[in-house]
Point group: C2
């Protein structure tokens, strides 16, 4: 960035004005957008979905290798993903950003341009927010509001015995991308003149830096008249998410290790890092794929979609949550999760 305008030259109102001045409204349900105490939404008879997700510098992202535009895109998309995970559609977001004066106005505009790009692509309106200073670092919180049809909203808690467990796309790629970035950062710290070697990692890097949400699946469900029996998005890793579904639905499951969809580049990258690909697929976060269960009667409707993978089935609670290895041994599924405080 060649220009640098100090945040102090704008003040809070100036900054908000600058960041939201070309804010376009695309949804009929958005009656009034930024510029007043509140946004005004009109949803008639639809049900409303609300979710909040936050990301903090040094915890969820590292400024050394995270372009701000990508960061904005990612935090927006990760929020949309929560709405799709309910079989709904995101419509509006509010954005809360706290940054220290280490950041310039241009840096914040870069961040916002990523958020706006994501909003454009997914048809979401920015309807409000707050921008404040912080003593150090950057913190972003987005609240997304979406709509769903009354009897088509899908919860985590309604999976039933014998349902098929399905997952979209492929797993572990975002985690593999993170490991590459961390490795290159360490190389760079030792020798700042070294150029990072990233050519062979384009797919996993894109999955880490600029993930997409699975809007297509909601369209697919609508078109094919499928309502999943439960659904969740994969932000903390498949293991953690399947446990959420099983615990909340009071059921068990069997997941087949050799059915886990893993991209070739992911698997090669994880091997380089001496991590079994399946471990990355089970515990790596931030893929934003969707994990869902369907009644067996819907099998015919989904079986030909190359982006939907059946990885197991729902069992009685007494069986627990099990991973079946290719050698047919059984392992308890445990959530690694992400304990940022450790």
């Amino acid at each position: 960035m060649s220009n640098r305008t100090e945040l102090s030259t704008l003040g809070e109102f100036g900054l908000i004005d600058k960041l939201t001045k070309d804010n376009k409204i695309t949804n009929k349900s958005t009656i009034l957008s930024v510029g007043d105490d509140c946004a005004v939404l009109d949803y008639g008879k639809k049900q409303i979905l609300v979710s909040t997700d936050a990301m903090a510098e040094g915890i969820h992202f590292d400024m050394v290798y995270t372009p701000l535009k990508h960061l904005g895109y990612k935090v927006a998309v990760s929020n949309f993903s929560d709405i799709y995970a309910m079989n709904g559609r995101p419509k509006q977001i509010t954005i809360s950003i706290s940054v220290s004066n280490r950041y310039s106005v241009e840096a914040l505009e870069e961040l916002y341009s990523g958020i706006k790009l994501a909003c454009d692509r997914y048809g979401v309106d920015i309807v409000g927010g707050d921008t404040t200073s912080s003593q150090t670092g950057m913190f972003i919180s987005i609240t997304v509001i979406g709509e769903g049809e009354k009897n088509k909203i899908v919860k985590r808690s309604t999976a039933k015995e014998n349902d098929l467990v399905c997952v979209t796309g492929d797993l572990g790629a975002a985690y593999a991308g993170l490991l590459v970035l961390q490795r290159e950062k360490n190389v760079w710290k030792t020798n700042p003149n070294m150029q990072p070697e990233l050519d062979d990692y384009d797919y996993v890097l894109e999955r880490q830096l600029k993930p997409e949400a699975q809007k297509w699946l909601i369209d697919f469900f609508e078109k094919n008249n499928v309502i999943p029996t439960s659904m969740i998005d994969i932000s903390d890793g498949l293991a953690s998410e399947i446990l959420h579904i099983c615990n909340d639905s009071k059921v068990g499951c069997e997941i087949y290790m050799n059915k886990l969809p893993i991209d070739y580049q992911t698997s090669r990258t994880l091997e380089e890092m001496k991590i079994p690909a399946e471990t990355g697929a089970l515990n790596g976060g931030e893929d934003y794929e969707l994990l869902f269960t369907i009644d067996q009667k819907d099998y015919e409707k989904i079986k030909d979609n190359a982006n939907i993978h059946i990885i197991g089935y729902i069992a009685d609670k007494s069986l627990g949550c099990k991973l079946i290895t290719p050698q047919n041994t059984t392992i308890d599924i445990k959530a690694q999760g992400w304990n940022h405080y450790q």
Copy 2:
């Protein structure tokens, strides 16, 4: 606090569970609350209001003199205030908190207890949120969702010439309270054994540490069949807010300095600090009073309410925004605002 549980012992899910385990739902419109990807709200034919407000440690609050329970109460109430400012009623909130491991679980519970107390008192449900770690400090962002009736939502941009300008309660108290706290902090830094002298400042301290939102005014409007022509809450000071109304409504105004409602303790405290009381009333933030305009035909309906003060009237844009002193001189109103980056 006698107990200290390290945040690291709980992890993110444990922390969210702990913080939200006794979360009560009071609104019929809350179909599904925390525990899934999204909350589900059902508003039938009402219009929805959404607002987000954030507070950062060291910027909006100082841990030296801000009890965490009060902080939680204040950040919730400041969000409710945005909904009342549209003549609506807050119904749900989502909470995003980022804290370093300097904070204990008990500290976060204390913060949440303040948020919950505010929600109880104002009839608002907690429907979601995110808790993440930060490298340093604490950052809180709340998104509030409320409802309003279609033709009764009041914007900033609809004040008309000859409307009366009104304000609730009294002004400058929260600012006076802040100055007392800052003074005592400085005394304490010089001599940590010194007991703070706060007895004579109970009112201004309460206004700073535990402000209330003006729900009563929305009830009053409903009961007396008044719809203000414009309204805004006073979070950044009267001067800043009246300029928002005038700029957005494309009008001017005359505000009478001797009509500004100032509590005796506020005025005495500000004098001690060598600040003219009117300056504090005009530029002090965080009072969360409501500033509104009404058509003159509604004068009879409001004139007997002791908590509503008529402080001026709306004029043609060409007259600008003027403050009239007791000596009948005219001063341009300028927003001091709060530029946290300076």
